[in-house]
Symmetry: none
Subunit: 213 residues, 2 copies
Amino acid sequence: MLRASLSAQRYDVRTVNDPEEAVRVFEDWNPDLVITDLMMPGMSGVEICRAIRRQASIPILVLSVRDQEHTKVEALDAGADDYVTKPFSIQELLARVRAHLRRAPERVGDSAIQVGDFLVDPAAHSVAVAGRPVHLTPKEFDLLLLFARNAGKVLTHRVLLTAVWGAQSAQQPEYLRVFIGQLRKKLQGDAHKEYIQTEPWVGYRFLPEGAAA
Amino acid sequence: MLRASLSAQRYDVRTVNDPEEAVRVFEDWNPDLVITDLMMPGMSGVEICRAIRRQASIPILVLSVRDQEHTKVEALDAGADDYVTKPFSIQELLARVRAHLRRAPERVGDSAIQVGDFLVDPAAHSVAVAGRPVHLTPKEFDLLLLFARNAGKVLTHRVLLTAVWGAQSAQQPEYLRVFIGQLRKKLQGDAHKEYIQTEPWVGYRFLPEGAAA
DNA sequence: GCGATTCGTAAAGATTCTGTTGCGATACGC
DNA sequence: GCGTATCGCAACAGAATCTTTACGAATCGC
């Protein structure tokens, strides 16, 4: 029924019945949005959220009969963007889908980013600076990815912290100081370039071209 | 109660009671997320969504006692990103807030302003005068941004002070004197132009084209 | 003209932020 | 089970910014 309604709105829809098929279709097809049930044979919806989040940043909409608080919180914190309790109105669901897709064009895809001296590949979790491969830990990588996607702009402490460490850590700028330091050290290499500028009281700015140190 | 819960999570919260105050606080303060009731005296939540969408792309979360399908659809299509029906669980609301803020860095929206000799870019926190980049501290930048957005108009002391230092500092014109002086010094460069004019007993006027000194 | 208020400028003091280091806890692979 | 890599967290010196004060010059009302 859901499928029919979505198709009627001229969305291109694929339905799957088990997690394995989901993974396969997901990788082959690169959807713009995922709607999943919390109860799936073999893998919970929460695990699905996490699995998708590792690969892509598309909106995830979770459906469930369960209306319990902690279930919702868990799913949302695992990366879901919305949680709709059954039974739900089709019109509402379509409106929510529209709302999430409205944001879609603003989202940078998960393809590799090349800016300035940098090549950042989210899929491979690899980074190269001026041709030289650099090994980054997951948190360092998240940080750099965010910078690469917003090259030239100042990212505030709060934005960086919420994106990498979660909203509850938004008041801990110590983390940032430490990881910015590590990133600078790893990125610098031989060239005496300064890739990450400090904007005191505000945040940091990433210059992929580098600035004379 | 909502305010207390959000503050407890160390969010910086402002509560308003009517649409006019909402607009004022919104413009002065530039929040990262808005939570609004659908029922407000004087302006419907739907209108609020539209009004905010015209200016910014931050997430809007609508609360309401109304659980009717067409109400939800209307709000979501008007620009709301989420619709939560009362009574709701605080934990769920907090989780939804986290989910929306997680997306925040992808929406660094404000576009640069170009007027006269000036290029002011809020996203990059950068300023250039006649092509020459100028470094400004945060307070200086806020001040210049306000001027750039109101080029040619006289901004009163009170307006400037409340915008940059907050309402409680509206009676401290010393701040202004000091910072206007610093701005003039930094902006002037070689060209002997006067960009900020004093309007005695009233305030200051910004002329992006510059006037002969 | 004269007093009162405001304005411009400089500098010192206080405050907050930043970069760095180090250590223990935890998770992971072998 | 063990070693390694990563993360969270605290402490510190140093830097950048903000606040406050002071004083001469300019402006206004009378």
